[in-house]
Amino acid sequence: MAKKLINGNYAAAYGAKLARAEVIAAYPITPQTAIVEQVADFVSSGEMKARYVTVESEHSAMAACIAAASVGARTFTATSSQGLLLMHELLHWASGARTPVVMVNVNRAVAPPWSVWADQTDSVSQRDTGWMQFYSESTQEELDTVIMSYKVSESPDIMLPSFTTEDAFFLSHTYEPVEIPAQELVDGFLPPFNPEIKLDIDNPRGFGSLSMPHQWYMELRYLIAEAMDRSRQKILKVEKEWKELTGRSYGGLLDEYRTEDAEVVLVNAGSAASTIREVIDRLRAQGKKVGLARLRSFRPFPTEEIRALGRHVHTIGVMDRCYTFGDGGAFFTEVKSALYQLKDRPTVKNFVVGIGGRDITMKTVGKLYDNLYKIKSDGLDEEKEWVDLKRPEVG
């Protein structure tokens, strides 16, 4: 097992290479470009036996991937921000067609204003498209999750597309020591993609045909929902296998850190989780029982795990690096709704933080935990707070 100093983008490219993706269709967009450049290198150097379709837009990238997957090829693409938004029509299409396309999305703010920095609004706003969504905390996790995603997505009882996210610059451009699993290890873990039904001249069929209200549309959509529910166990099973092979795992759907006896817990997705772990250890040293619940999977949503957390932790802060202009950030609304059925529900506050790449520092995290303790003693101050916002001077 060779360790290398690489950044999140290269990790994603290694994931695609080791997974032996056969068709890549991708369009460049900051800060994802190094992924597609590295994949182009792998293909040109013969390290990847793949076809690279240099499409003219992200929309065509996803169209080409869906088509290639329908022929039975393992596909890979990567995008970010505006590119992901342009793909939106076809994200619905990929899940509806049950094509297990695997993608990496570098989480980047959506314009205007223009911003190439970390923000999860792009991926979160794809929550209704039937794609599985995994959020990485580290470059190593990024590489491993790309490979695991193929095994989950391509299993016959799932057959759903998935994307793994990495925060712009905090992961995509940050070089870290990463273990590159051996090709043989990955080959043993991930069998070739060979779907039962595919575009095949010896067995002609129509893919994606029409169905009227009284016929089968609703039932076909129900199958997608069923598969998404089934994916919860599949993700855990696949991660267990990966752990046996590499010793590495990432906490399943909800990656909890020191929550067993925690009085207050922060829920977070993405790279800031590492900073939070550091702050937790320091506060724990001062006797403060704080914890972290990292949303590793946003789709499928870890409803049961969140409920289990809510049964013993009574003050929860949900960090959203996005905003829905509805009832707060998306992680907040979904965590809160998962907790709603509990007999005595915890207090839940929404911290809207790090929008547009604004840094989530240890100081900020400390402030959040202080605020949660204040809420624990004096009750909820305000349900939603934009943290580190440049506010006019008060009084």
């Binding site: 994606g208 039932e219 199958l223």
Partner: protein
Amino acid sequence: MSRPLKSYRDLPLAPITYEDTREAFKTGSWRTFKPQFDKSKCKKCWICWKYCPDMSIRILEDGTGIEFDYDHCKGCGICATECPAKCITMVPED
């Protein structure tokens, strides 16, 4: 795999078809006029067969003429218009 569809359990993974439309859609019901063939005038040029948008004209095995697939013919009248020997006429549906 054309099992009868009764519940979502019978469905394939996605809306992927597995049967053609010959039996399922008898579009012959759309006609108000239908073509009739007079074999005696037929010059066996197969122009009618060539131009049929609905694959509803079959050339006889022995090559002596054609027959209509009234299950599917929509009565558009192209064959009657294009036949150089004028041996196809459109008559009202009975």
